[in-house]
């Protein structure tokens, strides 16, 4: 049940990415292209997601514990540090270059396109590179 429910959650998430249009890099890049072929759809994706997640989280986090785990695992750090701001800024640059973010690329893998496989391979290489860099020293990593 535990793993089956996770599989189902992954399916729901992936279906959301597909139906919303987030799966299409052309659509994502057009959202960021206000001066050109602007497509505001992605603002509606975020609005739809938050409209469910805000009340949903409020309801769920009021419970004592999740169904299949001893407790809720929420990030405990509250610090706004250079790693958070700089790392996120860097992410935005890469997103603007490639048109994929990690959560859209994983469901897009299911379309079987070589370009998506290439993006996910590069993404994983970037994650590994960052892991190596963090081992060398500061700035201190933020876990997510």
């Amino acid at each position: 049940m535990r793993l089956l429910s996770a599989l189902l959650i992954g399916l729901i998430f992936g279906a959301g990415i597909a139906v919303s249009g987030m799966i299409d890099p052309a659509k994502v890049l057009n959202f960021f292209d206000i001066a050109g072929t602007w497509d505001p759809s992605l603002a509606f994706v975020m609005a739809g997601a938050l409209a469910v997640a805000i009340p949903g989280y409020r309801l769920v986090l009021a419970a004592r514990a999740p169904r299949f785990a001893p407790g809720f695992q929420l990030p405990d750090t509250k610090r706004i540090d250079p790693a958070l701001i700089g790392g996120s800024a860097l992410f935005g640059v890469g997103w603007g270059i490639a048109g994929f973010c990690p959560g859209a690329a994983l469901p897009a893998l299911g379309l079987g396109l070589p370009d998506v496989v290439l993006f996910v391979a590069a993404l994983m290489a970037g994650l590994l590179a960052a892991r190596g860099l963090k081992r060398l020293g500061p700035p201190k990593p933020a876990r997510g």
């Binding site: 990415i17 052309a26 938050l50 469910v52 989280y57 996120s88 992410f91 270059i97 490639a98 959560g103």
Partner: protein
């Protein structure tokens, strides 16, 4: 030329609601934030077997989603990748390094973090949205690719 895409407010809200639902279900059942960055990097880390299986099941569901939709409805999302292969590789590397230091991406910070009004996530979201807008402007209108 950059392809024009159709404005799809209803499908986008509906799809967004599914993304939100997945995030709420993962918290309710497993007590976890639904962040693609965290799930993927944990999958690459190994460690605790139960934890790894959970991440693997989530990723398997995500990847299978387009296949399942096609099997159930006969519909498959048509996507266009309007950038070059080198741009995909360079962009992917930068995204990987960025989300690692930033501790999350559009799903973890943008949906889950913002949904619980985390200050870190609000700052992260403002940061990556801002640079994405600037990057696309520079590439499409200043460099004029």
């Amino acid at each position: 030329m950059n392809p024009v895409t159709e404005f799809t407010p209803l499908a986008s809200i509906a799809g967004g609601a599914l993304i939100g639902l997945a995030a709420v279900l993962l918290m309710a059942l497993h007590g976890r934030i639904l962040g693609a960055t965290g799930i993927l990097s944990g999958l690459m880390r190994g460690g605790d077997a139960r934890d790894w299986q959970l991440r693997a099941a989530l990723v398997a569901g995500m990847v299978l989603a387009p296949v399942a939709i096609l099997a159930l409805t006969g519909w498959s999302p048509a996507i266009t990748i309007p950038v070059s292969r080198p741009a995909i590789v360079v962009g992917g590397l930068i995204v990987g390094v960025g989300v690692s230091y930033g501790g999350g991406c559009t799903s973890g910070h943008g949906v889950c973090g913002n949904a619980r009004f985390s200050r870190r996530s609000i700052v992260a979201t403002a940061s990556f949205m801002a640079t994405a807008f600037v990057t696309v402007f520079v590439i499409r209108h200043l460099i004029g690719a």
